[in-house]
Point group: C2
Chain length 387, copies 2
């Protein structure tokens, strides 16, 4: 968790950094139009064409018309460097490509598009390329109870002790308690903001954010000076869910934003975990509603969290893996096989996430693995068949 993966501007062409810094301001992120154009033409050509208003698609022209003359990329990069920050771009070896690959144009009612960010403004030494494996999102209400605050802090510390990194949104309530719990245990923690890095929000967490940036990471897709807004919290939440291998909801009211984050995690194939609480507590109603979904794991202790995210959560090799022959299996089916756990039965959707194989192929692969007696079904989920 030491530094050494600091700014990689040395391996990223300056014009790429400048282009992406410009593009992050030219339309409110995440912009489907900008993202699609960058995917086809690259950031430098896209920025150039937007600046000049030349050969743009109609939707890109509309999306960027108002701000295309504003280019603060140089000032933004300088301002962030002065604050110890950097712009992390997909061309950088530290880019969390594995975690963000599941962000695509999927969308659900009431949710912003689940699109990848164009880049991330980052403070802090934590390597982000490790995101996903071993990262657990800890989210919940701002209006948390003493019970929720205690659990968030205590469990975040327990997760740090287990070698895991917590991800949260630095809000008051559960978020702040989780970040503090990790820090108390000496573990790195990651805060994803809905505003510019120079606008710490909430103000009461300004020093906390500095501490997080000391060993972990504070990151955002919003350029310097951006103030938070309701829409931006929802947009930010998709990054919290995407960067972690599972999302733990500690407390959530009936209409909590944490439930939306859990929904995003589910859509992305991540584990959703809830902390149970008193049925008499309005702040646990959202957790218990989520628990009605068979895909949600109810976790009563830190060990349950570690068990749920499984060996992928800790890079731990599954020592119980049998040496039964997997000869003759295709590389794709082998990846499904490797994603199976002996201890924890996993849904096909989750195996698709772990293996990086599409869901339909996972289902076909599981049939094949079952026939080969390498996998067994357990209540609609799958586990490695004991030798």
């Amino acid at each position: 968790m030491s530094a050494g993966h600091g700014t990689r501007a040395d391996v990223v062409p300056p014009e790429v950094l400048a282009a992406r810094a410009y593009l992050m301001r030219v339309a409110e992120p995440p912009s489907r139009a900008v993202g699609a154009f960058v995917a086809r033409h690259g950031p430098v050509e896209t920025a150039d064409r937007i600046r000049r208003g030349l050969d743009l698609s109609a939707d890109l022209d509309a999306a960027t018309e108002a701000r295309r003359d504003v280019d603060r990329s140089g000032a933004d990069l300088d301002a962030m460097a002065a604050r110890g920050g950097r712009l992390l771009v997909p061309e950088d070896p530290d880019w969390p490509a594995w975690s963000l690959k599941d962000l695509h144009e999927a969308a659900a009612e009431d949710l912003p598009d689940l699109l990848p960010p164009l880049a991330l403004w980052v403070r802090g030494p934590l390597p982000l390329v490790d995101a996903g494996r071993g990262w657990v999102a800890v989210v919940g209400s701002r209006a948390a109870t003493d019970y929720g605050l205690w659990v968030a802090g205590d469990w975040a510390a327990g997760l740090a002790d287990a070698g895991m990194t917590t991800v949260s949104g630095a809000a008051l309530g559960i978020d702040g308690a989780a970040h503090r719990g990790s820090l108390v245990a000496g573990g790195p923690t990651v805060a994803v903001l809905a505003c510019g890095l120079d606008r710490p929000y909430p103000a009461a967490h300004s020093r906390l954010l500095d501490r997080i940036a000391g060993t972990g990471a504070v990151l955002t897709e919003y350029p310097p000076g951006t103030v938070p807004g309701r829409h931006r919290f929802l947009v930010r939440n998709r990054l919290v869910a995407a960067l972690a291998i599972g999302t733990l909801v500690v407390e959530a009211g009936a209409r909590s934003g944490a439930r939306r984050t859990a929904l995003v995690a589910h859509l992305l194939g991540r584990s959703v975990m809830v902390v149970p609480g008193p049925v008499t507590s309005a702040q646990s109603v959202g957790c218990h509603a989520l628990a009605r979904d068979p895909e949600t794991s109810v976790v009563g202790r830190v060990d349950d969290v570690v068990e749920t995210v499984g060996d992928l959560g800790r890079f731990a090799p599954d020592e119980g893996r049998p040496s039964r022959s997997t000869d003759g299996l295709s590389p794709r089916v082998l990846r499904v096989h490797e994603a199976l756990s002996r201890r924890t039965a996993r849904s096909a959707r989750r195996l698709a996430y772990y293996s990086g194989v599409d869901l339909h192929s996972v289902e076909l692969g599981l049939d094949q693995l079952e026939r080969a007696e390498l996998a067994e079904r357990s209540g609609g989920r799958w586990r490695l068949r004991p030798g």
Copy 2:
């Protein structure tokens, strides 16, 4: 819920009552040897042969050797009649055959054999033939917290309001709170004892048991004079689980007997539901451990309980059932089809319970129903396919 299903001694031959009363004392229930012999030869011949020690199987001879000369059947029947009780036997139309049919020789580690009772000593007017449908077991720790006691009482009242009957063990703690909650709401409740009806246990619940017997039922398989013992609580718990369509665990410590009752309910194909509580409470540890099983439902409110036990819980017709053609389906597959709900996805195991069809045939039937577009799979469970 009125009387009218009182003693049916008028339709049961007196020698059958006398024989079963004798057999309930001649070996500690449930006796595999006695049960098997009764199944083959009927209660009257079995009692006669045991009394005379003639033509017995070796295991039956051994099981009944010590007590075969003790025949208190007449005195037991008279004593219970004097207390307003009766002996309910399988030959009686009020026998809860549907609920008890799943008790067979299945057994699990640390559990007594899951055998049906030879008969039941009963006080109270509630028809027992209705057991199962609409009956929910509410169980939990004796050393309950204020939280657990409140939930048990409040939810039992809510279940009574929803037209459901609670079943419990009349113990201190959760059991007593559940019985009282039902009574407060004017609903019938059923207490299953681990001792004779003339030995109310615990003594502090003596008046509570009288009130339960006023509108519901107090029942036991132990003859008059039997005192409770650890083994008998375990044996009793199988009846609590069997008589209800689902078991709700309100609070349970790590090694609570309520967890065993839940295991029995699971083995019998009943729904297992747990009330979540603070993860900081030792009395919720058992509930949260049970919640790790994908087959367990976490219930945050009374409505969740009603939803989990489904329309079978309340005799409510499933008005959403489509009129799609089921022509050509075998009677067995039709029964599986009728056990499907549109609203609640059910496991094959649960459908086996609801339909009375064996698990393997249920699985074959579900394949057929899926091909006919009458059923759909949802996370390893099955529901009626919307029209």
